[in-house]
């Protein structure tokens, strides 16, 4: 995974090329305000118990299946199911859960990892998962181990009302609680971007108190509206899926991991007459334009790829201090090697690297430096140029010492 280096840290690097050692240390330890999107997490919560709430579990499991299909691995999905419908005695198909009356797809097939089940799904545990304040005994698989580069999908379904969501028929999660948890997450750099998707009655009210940047929220219904179930499975005898989730899934069924559908196309796919409610999304806290954000940024594990010129870029950057010692031993060899590497990489980077600049790299390194600084495009080549610039300095210093 590639880490995007912001211009500020680059500036440090370039301003003090002679103190490369210090700057590299500074780079490693400095707080990264806009880290790159490096990983994806999903927290999928079904908050209601009881057989007649079968559809909520089916909703959550369907979404679980979708995000898994789009590339989020199981260890990065926290699945919370408040009841076990699959093994409910009333289930006509033991150990199977369906979200459609055609029964084509068993959602509870192989490889369903439920992290929190039954009475473990409480408001307390939910907030603990979000904020990461677990007791020491809680295993890693039950923790949301996200970082500042994480995109998190938080999906919740259950019975809700004005600014609350019912948990387990006995507790409530209020919009304040959610906003506070998200704020704590932000402060602890637990996410880069967060998409909250809620399918309950009056879901939009749950987002009222949110104020952390980078949060995008979508709910199935506005204040005063109900979210309805989509259809009844007369064989199982219960409603099997909610409308909002059904149409969300319908949208994703057409997609695969390589598709570039944007979030705005997802949001505009909700038809109020089909939903029988108005899907509401809140984007005032979210900076990027929805048209440019692929849905797979949240529902899959697809990230922007940054091409590197080094096979082990992270190694070369982190250990640049160590390189220095090596370089002092065999400078010329290293120099040549570096140059060759740059040229090899240049061949690949057709679209974003100016071939002219590469040509001039050997002739006029300082102008290329400026250009690169303005563009801030290829970090590694810049680093390498920095190293090259170091060589005369080193030569002079060794000469002075002698």
């Amino acid at each position: 995974m590639e880490t995007f280096i912001n211009p500020k840290s680059l500036f440090h690097l370039l301003l003090l090329p002679c103190l490369l050692l210090y700057s590299s240390i500074a780079y490693n330890s400095s707080p990264v305000e806009a880290a790159m999107h490096t990983n994806n997490w999903a927290v999928l919560v079904c908050t209601s118990r009881f057989w007649f709430n079968y559809r909520h579990m089916a909703n959550t499991l369907s979404l679980y299946r979708t995000v898994k299909r789009l590339g989020i691995p199981d260890e990065r999905i926290i699945l919370m199911l408040a009841d076990d419908m699959a093994c409910n005695t009333r289930n006509k198909y033991p150990a199977q859960v369906f979200n459609n009356e055609n029964h084509r797809l068993n959602l509870y097939g192989d490889n369903v990892e439920v992290d929190y089940r039954g009475y473990e799904v409480t408001v307390e545990n939910f907030l603990r998962v979000l904020t990461g304040r677990h007791e020491t005994a809680v295993p890693r698989s039950k923790r949301l181990l996200s970082d500042e580069g994480s995109h998190i999908l938080l999906y919740m379904t259950g019975h809700g009302g004005d600014e609350f969501l019912k948990f387990q028929d006995s507790e409530e999660l209020q919009s304040h609680d959610l906003a506070d948890a998200v704020k704590q997450m932000k402060e602890k750099h637990r996410f880069k971007e967060l998409l909250i998707m809620v399918d309950t009655c009056q879901a939009a009210t749950l987002f009222n108190q949110l104020q952390s940047p980078g949060v995008l929220a979508i709910g199935s219904s506005m204040k005063g509206e109900n979210s309805y179930s989509h259809h009844l499975d007369s064989d199982v005898g219960v409603s099997v899926v909610d409308r909002f989730t059904y149409y969300t899934l319908a949208f994703f069924e057409r997609l695969n991991i390589y598709d570039n559908a944007s979030l705005s196309s997802l949001f505009s796919s909700y038809n109020p007459s089909l939903l029988m409610s108005t899907a509401y999304y809140r984007k005032d806290l979210y900076k990027r334009r929805l048209e440019e954000v692929p849905v797979t940024n949240f529902f899959g594990s697809v990230m922007e790829t940054i091409h590197t010129d080094a096979a082990y870029k992270a190694l070369s950057r982190r250990n640049s201090g160590r390189f220095e010692d090596e370089m002092s031993l065999d400078q010329s060899v290293h120099h040549i090697k570096r140059r060759m590497l740059i040229k090899v990489n240049d061949g690949d980077e057709i679209h974003d690297i100016n071939p002219e600049g590469e040509e001039g790299a050997s002739k006029c390194p300082w102008s290329t430096f400026r250009k690169k600084f303005q563009k801030a495009e290829n970090v590694d080549s810049l680093l390498n140029y920095g190293l090259v610039a170091m060589i005369p300095l080193l030569v002079i210093s060794t000469w002075l010492v002698q």
Partner: protein
Amino acid sequence: MAETKEKSLSDEKPKPRVRPIVRLGIFLISHSFHVSVVCCTAGVLALFLLPVLAKNTYISENALMPGSASPMLSNQHVSDGNRLVKDLTNPNSKSSETGIESHKIIAQYMLDLGAEVSFHKFHPQMNQFHPLHFFSSPDSGKIQENYSCSSYGINTVGIIRAPHGDGKEAIVLVTPYNALKSGFGEALSLGIAYSVFSLLTQVTWLAKDIIWLVADSQYGEYAAVAAWLREYQTPKFSSLSTPNAEMCPDVNNLFELKGHSISGSKFSNSFRRAGTMASALVLKVRDQNEQFEDTISIYAEASNGQMPNLDLINVVNYLAVHRQGLRVNVEKLWSLLNSSWLKSLGEIFESLAKVAKSLYPKWKFGIPATEYVEGTATLASSLYYQALGVPTGPHGAFRDYQVDAITLEISPKFSLDKVWRNDILLRGGRLIEGVIRSVNNLLEKFHQSFFLYLLTSPSKFVSVGVYMIAFALLIAPLPMVAASLYVDANSSSNCSKGDSSTPSAITDTDEHSIAIRSWRWLNSAKLVFIVHLWGAIVSLLPYFISQIPDCSPTTSFMIWVLLSILSLLTLNSVLASPLACAKATQEKEWALVKSVTISSVFIGLGLMSVINFATAEIGALLMVPMCLLAQPLKLDVRAGTLRSFCRMICNLVLGHIAFPPAAFFLLKGMLDGFGNANVGDFWMWVESLWAWNSATYLFIGMVQLPCWVLCISILFHTC
């Protein structure tokens, strides 16, 4: 601010400050006549408005989800049921005198399905009067000694265990069956139950065990079910059952035969249990029917007017009407359907509603006159059966253990061809399956919907919050009138010399005499207490009378009446005589007696409304006017005005109607016609009341009868 206020107050005349609520009370008491007239009229009117105010029923419990699953009962199951019907109606099966053959057939059928089967042998309990058993739950302790081997019944019980369930809950399906003289209807009901049972042995969605009880109804349906329930709920740990079984080899035979013939099967000699009962359905098929369409009647009233949760009725009604296309009936007082005054009342309400709607379009409370008449007839029967306190079917036995149960009686339009029989088996079976599946979805007991309600149609009900208004209005004037009578009686005797009752006049009089006079009501209270004591004695008398052997109802009744009068006279002479002479001298004594009587009636009605609302309502309709109007006839005769004459007539009429036996005969005459009225009927009726531990019996004996006696004594007061 405060100072100025104080000043302004001090400027005025110093007046005793009375709190608004006290002032309101004084106002109401001083205008008690008008208040009581208004309240009573409003109370009666509210009672007649109840059908208009009835709400549509709705499924209150989310978990039930009736009709969300499509029925799985197929023609295969129906043909299974048909097979059983054929075998049972086959003349060969009736060869045995005890009907054991039929039970064997049923048990064999159950075993073939893989169900657990056991026989439950019981001895019918005679209905006896247990004076101390009112309100107490039936217990296993009362086991009679004198069993004869000839009189026992056999319940056949089949149990399906839920395949994935925990076995902690169960649903009971009851089909009464008399092996000795079973009609086709009973066999058909068994066929329906069997087809459902055979389906339920195959399904995977059972969360509760299913118990199918074939109740031997040769000693009455209720007795068989009650005996089984008693055994189920209160297990006997004594060894009483073993000697009984030994005494009756016939029964032993039956058990052993079965045990041997199907060795290794799920048949067991011991009593089998499943979990806590979530609900119970009693299924019956009526033999004759002359109606045009398939109907299903719901009987819900259990002892003392207890009703099952409304959700259970809703589920049955919803499934029957919307899924199986059956017409649903609840009991109606048919005689009311043709009454013209009710029709005109309905028309008045209808036109009133139209006027209201034209004034303000959002007021929509009117119902068509015909619907009103039907609603009233249903409401009246609902009130009547609740007031009676006698269960309307075997489901009543379940209610004693807080299990929600109803009886469903299917009345098919009669025809003998096979298609029709299959059709009724299919539809009835699917209805039962739907109800069972719905109840199976329940997570807890029925608790979401109403327990206190009156039905005005299968899909309309009046909840406790509405019907209590009528009752509250009816009894509201009682305490006011009592207070005003008390005040009047005191002040008028105080001011016999003076004409004003100002506070200054009272302060003038001797304090000692006031103290004596203000305690004078104790005399009246004593009289009222004595009469109530007498009421208690009268209520106990039937226990002793019933011990007399070979006594016809009429003679029993006569003995009862004689003993009652005798005991009243004795009590009066022993306890009340020294006071009687003092009483006679006092003026307005009757007003005090009336005041205390009204208070006691108020307390009695209030208590009864908690135990059995319907009884209290009907009792209030009879007693409140009588109590309020009661005035010595002599005074009315002396006054000689038209008003006093009217009051006299009213008093005499009410004095006749409110006498419990008279009220009974009047009601009976209205319902069945006066032709076959018999004095003994009242005795029989009373006997049935105590046999069912009905609180109505206590109410009549200890509230209504004393009240009537007191009112009569006021009417004939010599003043």
